[in-house]
Symmetry: C2
Subunit: 201 residues, 2 copies
Amino acid sequence: MKYNKDTSEKILDAAVREFETKGYSGTRMQAIADRAGINKALLHYYYKSKDALFQIIIQKAFKVFIPKVISAIDEETDLFETIEKFTSSYIDNLIQHPRIPAFITLEINNNPERLLGLIQSSGVNVEKFKQKIDTAIEKGEIIDVEPIQLIVNIISLCLFPFVAKPIITGLVLNGDEKVYEKMIEERKQEVSKFIIRAIKK
Amino acid sequence: MKYNKDTSEKILDAAVREFETKGYSGTRMQAIADRAGINKALLHYYYKSKDALFQIIIQKAFKVFIPKVISAIDEETDLFETIEKFTSSYIDNLIQHPRIPAFITLEINNNPERLLGLIQSSGVNVEKFKQKIDTAIEKGEIIDVEPIQLIVNIISLCLFPFVAKPIITGLVLNGDEKVYEKMIEERKQEVSKFIIRAIKK
DNA sequence: TGCAAATTTAACCACATGGTCAAACTTAAC
DNA sequence: GTTAAGTTTGACCATGTGGTTAAATTTGCA
């Protein structure tokens, strides 16, 4: 018998919760242990250091997203369908893991090197998407846009509502979480409609 | 003679730098003192605690933005002009204070209560903007959109590129800061064009 | 110049934090 | 039940942290 899978999972769950809300430096090993219902020494028995635990969690977070992102872009469909598939599946994924964007934002601003390597080596390929945009422009399907601007727009519209959930809920929606959730759900359709309307000839 | 304005400013500058990049819990009083070229006791002589210093900096950050945001929305112009004025002046402001969005995002996810009160009491009024959108729909100037979705879209397109600067620069722009700056500069025009094209009838 | 107030400093404190360790406990196989 | 490996624990340590204090230095002004 080796590591107890159950305990190991419990720790990971607890650590994700703590890191996602408090960030790396705001998270206390004691808090993770408490949340997992174990003691600090056991925590260090399973994961040798705070840094190691953090690294593992970041990697898991990326594994959730990157493959889906890639598959949407890679498919041999036209630009409009790509945008539709990408935004809806991306937002859908984000609904299931809503705290990840804020977490990544937090940490990438704090320690860009640590995360950038991870993202870059994960195989996301923006070039392919740029080419699709260029092709659509040549074919006269969309207006003449700067591919980078369009890509930034798409990412912004998908991600920002998750990053800024407290601001949106508190400021625009008077603190109503239900309205927030409904709005996000609608965005699975609305975002691509909005984008396509903005670029279609 | 009372507090030395110069020293006080130097401390504030240093503190802003530290808090903006490291967040509240990641920031060390010693680091602020070092950056300001003074020692820790003097730091506490000017600002009684880390929390107090942080509070002052947040309030300053808000004072920079809120008034400009309000003035753009308040003007008695039509929706299209409001969007143009708002996005270009907002992005322009962000260019001058590029680290504030990430800073606010970090802290609002960490401690929503502390910041939300501040924002809410600052007099930002989303209702006025909603009404402008409703009016434009009634007049048939724009297609039938959910005002909240449009507002979230506008904010997302303005803010996200600043929040996610390291991701965009690293992943989409191959680490080229100059390209990033050029792209942001162009967004002062591009964002409103994009939005208006998406909603204009 | 002398003095009182403002400013700056080095040394210090209490406490929190990440991490360790040897001992105790569980478990499954023989 | 004995044993040996894996698992869990309380007590502990070194260091880093925000914050204090009393004494020294500088400053403006009579």
